[in-house]
Symmetry: C2
Subunit: 198 residues, 2 copies
């Protein structure tokens, strides 16, 4: 099956909105999706950007836009009070789970996103991330250990570096055979593109 790379930050509202649409897109297009959580803070250092909600004038607009986009696509959404956060814990947990069960890792990623953006859970707290994983039968002790394991720390660093090398400067960011698409609002174009390449 053709492959789609889906880069996202667990603290990104538009990444969350995209995550709620990507499975259906993949099914319509007959794709495998590689979920690649990363930290856009690393990219911001190179692009000179900052979180949208912290930008003068633009912040107010984008808060409104997030709500409106979520409503339009029918996705429950409430910008958390503690926003943004450095999503190190869920990223490391994701890659550990992904190493033995990619499908489970995607379910876990959905739950992390929904927990944070729909259910008001504090995902900056590693224990909340652990609690989210145990819902899927994952052992709390094992995931807690993985989240501080140098192996997964290093893996996340490499994903971040690779993302920036490929030009992924925001979330969500898609690559289909190296064709880049940035933003939840480019998913329609992404789908047209994929179908035009078939």
């Amino acid at each position: 099956m053709p492959e789609l790379d889906f880069y996202f930050d667990f603290s990104s509202p538009y990444g969350y909105l995209a995550s709620e649409r990507v499975d259906a897109l993949a099914e319509r297009c007959g794709l495998s999706v590689y979920w690649r959580p990363f930290l856009i803070g690393t990219a911001f250092k190179q692009t000179g950007q900052s979180p949208l909600t912290e930008q003068p004038i633009r912040g107010d607009y984008f808060r409104h836009d997030m709500d409106r986009c979520a409503r339009l696509q029918g996705t429950p959404f409430k910008l958390p009070e503690k926003f943004p956060y450095a999503a190190v814990a869920p990223c490391r947990a994701f890659y550990w789970i992904n190493s033995f069960d990619p499908k489970l890792a995607q379910k876990f990623a959905h739950d992390v996103y929904r927990g944070y953006f729909a259910d008001g859970l504090d995902m900056s707290n590693p224990e909340t991330v652990i609690a989210t994983a145990t819902r899927h039968g994952i052992d709390a002790g094992r995931i807690r250990h993985a989240m501080t394991d140098p192996k997964w720390k290093q893996h996340l660093r490499e994903v971040n570096e690779q993302a920036i090398e490929r030009g992924a400067f925001g979330s969500p960011f898609f690559f289909y055979k190296n064709e880049p698409f940035f933003g939840n609002d480019r998913m329609d174009q992404l789908e047209l593109w994929i179908k035009s390449q078939a």
Copy 2:
């Protein structure tokens, strides 16, 4: 007829792409469109932003995105070598024409945009702007005078100030009864919104 405010910068690629779609949208929705060229450079000073093409990493992506969006909507587009430019001359000329013939001002605006983004004309040169206006039977001497008239200088300053007060920080920027939509990529949402309010 209900009214739509269409803010744009004559140097903005996405503003140009939107200008090629806004007449059809207005017809479908039964709207009057108020074209309001302004200078986003003024807004950038307050938002801390810079022209997309000058931003590290993001610049390459957005050049590609502009081309792709233009192709997809069937609009001739080539990013000029001299880009961006401070579109003071076409703005002042627009508001002068607009004061006696708004429909003609819109035709003139289309020609300024197409001249710059499709035909390779240097619109940063006031004489090119004047030449564009004379195609519509406007007297060269009169428009040349208007473009340095303190009245239209002041008018443009006021438009810029009002745009920022309303939160228009980029181009294109639409307001429908104070509901804000930023970007060529929000025109579908804008249309849904307008129809939902009917």
